[in-house]
């Protein structure tokens, strides 16, 4: 199945900007579940410098700068993604692997496991406190299969926390999210990651898109207007298994990955430095369409 994703970000500046430097992580990387077949990037005004490279985590990064005065900036990335069909997850396969087994495997195999093991480390955005650790412990009881524990954690976050756009900002610490019990997709992803890491286990933050309305007339999913975030857990026998706590589902067909990191900061879609004295406003729109379906 193929998707066409159009992600448009527009900044409008109240004072003209003489120079801007930007880092975009908006190009979906290839994974074992998807291939980026076509890519079209339009930046207005035209950048003076544009350069693409792979970052530490293997994500595709685009650096660009605009060196003439401008009062708005728009970045439109259109990507065509082929999803390689994932078979429905066979629970029997990894129902048996426990958290203890995963840890032991990684500890025994520290050499090769370093790249996985790095996702156990706490970061400022995934810092946990006692409350978060206690919340995690309810699901991570000794001897329990890791998959079960992670899936239950996802469901509990979905049930216990309210999805409320605007309730948090980028600077809101997890402890506040935990106390207030509300937030948006990346708060939930960060919370789950903090819970899992507090158990000494590796978890990754994923950034990407979600198809909100399935053509089969299924349930409407959350995450329509902007990019989406979820998490994955490393389970030895399966590799990285993904969970979406915002929609309480195992991402399969309807999730398209841009890339991953330890937390949001590693895979922020767009960040920049402007030289200007004024304020700005921002508009973001994301369209996820199946190829061959009616185009707007």
């Amino acid at each position: 199945m193929n998707y066409i994703i159009t992600h448009k970000t527009t900044y409008r500046y109240f004072e003209p900007v003489s120079l801007c430097y930007n880092i975009a992580r908006l190009i979906p990387r290839n994974t074992d579940k998807q291939v980026c077949k076509n890519l079209h990037i339009r930046i207005h005004p035209k950048p003076d410098i544009i350069h693409e490279y792979e970052d530490f985590f293997g994500n595709r990064v685009m650096y660009f700068s605009i060196e003439k005065e401008h009062s708005s900036l728009s970045v439109t990335v259109t990507s065509e993604i082929e999803k390689t069909t994932t078979p429905a997850i066979d629970m029997g396969l990894y129902n048996n692997t426990t958290a203890e087994e995963v840890k032991k495997e990684l500890l025994d195999n520290r050499e090769g496991g370093a790249e996985i093991w790095q996702y156990t480390l706490e970061t400022p955005m995934t810092a946990w406190n006692d409350e978060i650790q206690a919340y995690a412990l309810e699901s991570f009881s000794p001897g329990r299969p890791l998959f079960d524990a992670a899936r239950e954690l996802m469901t509990r976050i979905y049930q216990d926390f309210e999805f409320e756009p605007g309730a948090t900002t980028i600077a809101t610490p997890l402890s506040t999210v935990m106390r207030e019990r509300k937030g948006v997709c990346q708060d939930f992803a960060h919370l789950a990651i903090a819970c899992i890491r507090s158990q000494g286990l590796p978890a990754r933050y994923l950034s990407g898109y979600i198809e909100t309305i399935s053509p089969a007339g299924g349930e409407k999913l959350i995450g329509a207007d902007a990019s989406h975030a979820w998490f994955s857990v490393y389970i030895s026998s399966m590799g990285w298994v993904e969970f979406d706590p915002t929609n309480n589902m195992l991402p399969t067909e309807q999730h398209i990955t841009i890339g991953w990191g330890r937390d949001y900061a590693d895979i922020a879609p767009l960040k920049g430095i402007i030289l200007s004295s004024g304020q700005h406003e921002l508009a973001v729109s994301v369209h996820v369409e199946r190829e061959g379906q009616n185009t707007r």
Binding site: F56, A114, W117, E122, S207, D266, L270, I273, S276, S277
Partner: protein
């Protein structure tokens, strides 16, 4: 006569020596080691009195040269003089060659580790380096992964703190790889020693420091992108508030590199550019003294004001090189120390030559257990230095409760902690309060990358503890520095690289003045005259008040009031005497005048203007000669408020002003002698002339425009001329009593009077012609237009008309108009120069988008 036996020599009666610990001075036989014996022979030949006086010379010279070390968080915010001991730290040649080889090996090893960490990370993947030790360290900058600079090595500068253990072995205590400091202080220490106590070098072959600096220059040339043979190299400093700012500017002068701050640079077209008054100039190499994390707000620390947005991308594109490269702070990681020996075996197939202080990294279960159990006897460090700097704790100094809290912290994040063995440090002689006493010492060594390996400075910076027992040594905490002497013949080889690189630098282009320097020089010029003008006027007023008090005639009282009011308006220290109802001020004028002189907090006061002057001086401190610093010191002395009684106060205030004026005139004279007539001079002197013009105009506006009766006007004219030291000129030229029309002629129109407005405008006009123009053709720039207008106005105005007024008029109307117009034009020139040549940087703002 010197006895080689310590016990029987009275000179060492305060030098307690124990057999238990290694002693730099004395061998196991109780006799002075040979190089120390030679040294103390010269030392005693000078004699105790002479040594003490030379030691004072050192301190004075340091003060006069403005060698300082700033203390962060010091409430006074003022830099502290550097401290240096006249007794150096001696290392014999044989020992040095061992140290040198050991450090070169270590530099090479750290370089390979650095390359690997930011390269393909084989050491981590193969389990030779624990992932947590690197990935959990705040110095590991993921955006720098995969970025490689040109040149043989990635680690360009390396510095190590060495200490000799009680067993006599030399240990590495710290590795410095971020932006190692101290080489400039080492050089300054050596310069001071050779000047103050050349006799002490007698019969000792002390290795020179200069080869290191040639190697440094060469090393920086080698990393220039594209092998550019004539690269532009800058030193990036956080600014004059930084603890080692003195050194940044010292090295910039010594090496002939431009000193810049982050906002002097910008990234454009993926290259780094220096903003100069002639436009942008490409920068090839940055010697950075800003911690890497602060260097690029786009990819590193978002709210950093010290960096350059886009810098890392420019490095990534291979357009600029940085020494040390961004990310090199990862090696300043005490946890690494416990892995160096196996890494040396693995990477170099050699054993580590220099022993490292025993270190247990708590990220491993066994080591964690050991540290938790032996907390009392260990020094505990975090693997990264935190911002407050206090990341080192002596386990023994903690209370029971503190120790158990520390244990909890370590257990919570074991990979962030190490335990280190406490080393006993050897003792070395130091001159303390005129006596030779033992002190613990730490030696910092400096290495720089060359094509064929690393070159170590044959010398270094030695620091000693403030008291005999203390083993934690830091300049932040107090303590002394020493020159370090390596006693060995200079090797015969000639430094071919030195001649090569110096040829290329002399052949280089005339560099443009950075905008930042231009701006500060301009303001140094303006504040020079502002301090001077105000000091002269205040002195004139004070002298008048002191005398006038005695006569007390009506005319005198009126003149005094007029002068006091003019003083307030001239110095802009409102309300002061400008409030005519303020009888309190008029009846106690000294109180107010003292305030205008000394009160630092009062805008417009002389002290306040002097502080602004001082600040601007420091921002461009590489422009001033040694003599200049001496003069600045004496201005500081002159402006120390006297603690005396009011009566004595009058005289001493006038004396303070005399001293200040003399020093300021000396400052101007020195600049005239020592600053080459290039863009810097133009900025400085144009600033002076503009300020002089404005002050003169203001003076005439505040004293003469409002008419007074004949006698008072006469007194005021005298005051004006005295304040401009033009009374003699007047008498010589006109040979008649003071008349306003003639005073105006002298002060406004006389082209030969160096204090006249005519003269200033001519100078300004001449200077402006030499400023770089960004456009060709014949059209005038904004400032040229304004100065031409001022020039024309001066030429066209009718001298006689200015001092004309009707009987009933209370002011000289034409004079008032003329002065206002001139003031507007000349302020305009200043504003346009500022707009054209100085940076009006918008603060970079970070924008982060949430999904």
């Amino acid at each position: 006569m010197l006895s080689t036996n310590l016990q029987s020599n009275p000179a060492f009666r305060d030098y307690s020596h124990t057999e238990l610990s290694y002693d730099e001075l004395v061998g196991t036989d109780g006799k002075l080691r040979p190089h120390w014996e030679t040294f103390f022979t010269s030392y005693h030949q000078l004699g105790d009195q002479e040594i003490i006086s030379r030691n004072e010379d050192i301190l004075r010279m340091i003060k006069e040269n403005g060698v300082t070390y700033n203390i962060y968080g010091d409430p006074s915010g003022i830099s502290r003089p550097w401290k240096q001991d006249i007794i150096p730290f001696l290392i014999n040649g044989q020992e040095w060659s061992y140290i040198e080889k050991g450090l070169q090996q270590r530099a090479l090893l750290l370089n390979m580790i650095l390359e690997d960490i930011y390269g393909d990370r084989q050491l981590i993947k193969n389990g030779l380096l624990p992932m947590e030790l690197i990935y959990n360290h705040s110095g590991f900058l993921r955006p720098c992964a995969g970025v490689r600079s040109p040149g043989k090595h990635q680690l360009i500068l390396y510095s190590a703190d060495l200490a000799r253990g009680t067993d006599g072995r030399i240990w590495v205590v710290n590795d410095r790889t971020q932006a190692p400091s101290g080489s400039g202080y080492a050089l300054e220490n050596r310069t001071t020693m050779t000047r103050v106590a050349p006799e002490l070098f007698n019969n000792l072959q002390v290795r020179h420091l200069s080869p290191y600096f040639s190697a440094l220059r060469n090393g920086l040339h080698e990393i220039a992108p594209g092998g550019n043979p004539n690269p532009r190299i800058v030193i990036l400093t956080p600014g004059s508030g930084n603890e080692t700012y003195f050194e940044h500017s010292y090295l910039s002068s010594y090496l002939g590199l431009t000193l810049v701050q982050g906002n002097d640079l910008m990234v454009k077209d993926n290259y780094v550019w220096l903003k100069t008054i002639g436009g942008l100039e490409k920068v090839d190499v940055i010697l950075r003294r800003v911690d890497d994390f602060f260097c690029d707000p786009l990819e590193l620390k978002e709210d950093s004001q010290l960096g350059i947005p886009g810098l890392l991308q420019s490095v990534r594109s291979g357009n600029v090189s940085i020494a040390n490269p961004l990310g090199s702070g990862i090696l300043e990681n005490p946890g690494l120390m416990s892995f160096l020996q196996p890494l040396a075996r693995y990477l170099l197939s050699e054993d580590l030559m220099m022993p490292t202080i025993a270190t247990w990294w708590c990220g491993q279960p066994k080591e964690l257990g050991y540290v938790l159990e032996n907390l009392e006897s260990l020094v505990i460090k975090t693997i990264h230095r935190n911002s407050t700097g206090s990341s080192t704790v002596d386990g023994a100094s903690l209370s029971h409760a503190e120790r158990s809290a520390l244990r909890d912290r370590i257990r919570n994040s074991p990979s962030l902690y190490v335990g280190q063995e406490k080393v006993g440090v050897s003792q070395t002689p130091a001159l303390v309060n005129g006596r030779i006493e033992p002190r613990k010492s730490l030696f910092r060594s400096f290495l720089v990358s060359q094509q064929d390996g690393y070159t170590a400075m044959t010398g270094g910076l030695c620091r000693t503890s403030s008291d005999a027992g203390n083993f934690i040594i830091s300049n932040q905490m107090g303590g002394m520095s020493k020159d370090a002497w390596i006693i060995s013949p200079e090797p015969g080889r000639i430094f071919h690289t030195l001649t090569d690189s110096s040829e290329t630098t002399t052949a280089s282009y005339q560099p443009m003045l950075p905008s930042h320097a231009a701006e500060n020089l301009f303001w140094v010029g303006r504040y020079t005259e502002r301090v001077l003008g105000n000091a002269r006027f205040l002195r004139t007023v004070m002298e008048f008040v002191a005398e006038g008090n005695k006569l007390g005639t009506d005319q005198m009282v009126q003149t005094e009031r007029k002068l006091l009011e003019a003083m307030t308006r001239y110095s802009f220290t409102y309300p002061g005497f400008a409030d005519k109802e303020n009888e309190e001020a008029y009846s106690h004028p000294w109180r107010e005048m003292k305030d205008v002189l000394f009160n630092e907090k009062r805008p417009g006061s002389i002290q306040c203007n002097f502080q602004m002057f001082h600040k601007a001086i420091h921002e461009v401190r590489d422009h001033w000669s040694t003599d200049t610093w001496r003069v600045i010191r004496s201005m500081e002395e002159a402006l120390k408020a006297p603690e005396s009684t009011p009566q004595q106060g009058h005289l001493s205030m006038i004396q303070s002003l005399d001293n200040l004026i003399t020093s300021m005139v000396a400052f101007i004279g020195l600049n005239r002698e020592s600053i080459s007539r290039e863009q810097g001079w133009i900025m400085l002197d144009a600033g002076r002339k503009i300020e002089q013009s404005l002050l003169l105009i203001t003076m005439l506006q505040t004293t003469l425009v409002n008419k007074s009766n004949e006698q008072v006007e006469y007194n005021l004219l005298q005051g004006v001329l005295m304040s401009h030291e033009s009374l003699v000129n007047y008498r010589y030229k006109y040979r008649m009593p003071l008349k306003i029309s003639l005073v105006l002629d002298l002060m406004l129109f006389d082209p030969n009077n160096p204090r006249s407005l005519r003269y200033q405008v001519d100078r300004i006009k001449a200077y402006l012609q030499h400023l770089p123009k960004n456009h060709s053709g014949h059209s005038l720039t904004g400032y040229e237009r304004l100065i031409l207008e001022a020039d024309t106005l001066l030429k066209l105005s009718d001298k006689k008309d200015l001092s004309r007024s009707g009987e009933c008029d209370t002011t000289y109307g034409p004079l008032d108009d003329f002065l206002s117009r001139m003031h507007g034009l000349i302020s305009g020139v200043s504003a346009v120069i500022s707009k054209t040549f100085f940076k009006h940087e918008l603060t970079p703002k970070s924008i982060l988008l949430r999904p």
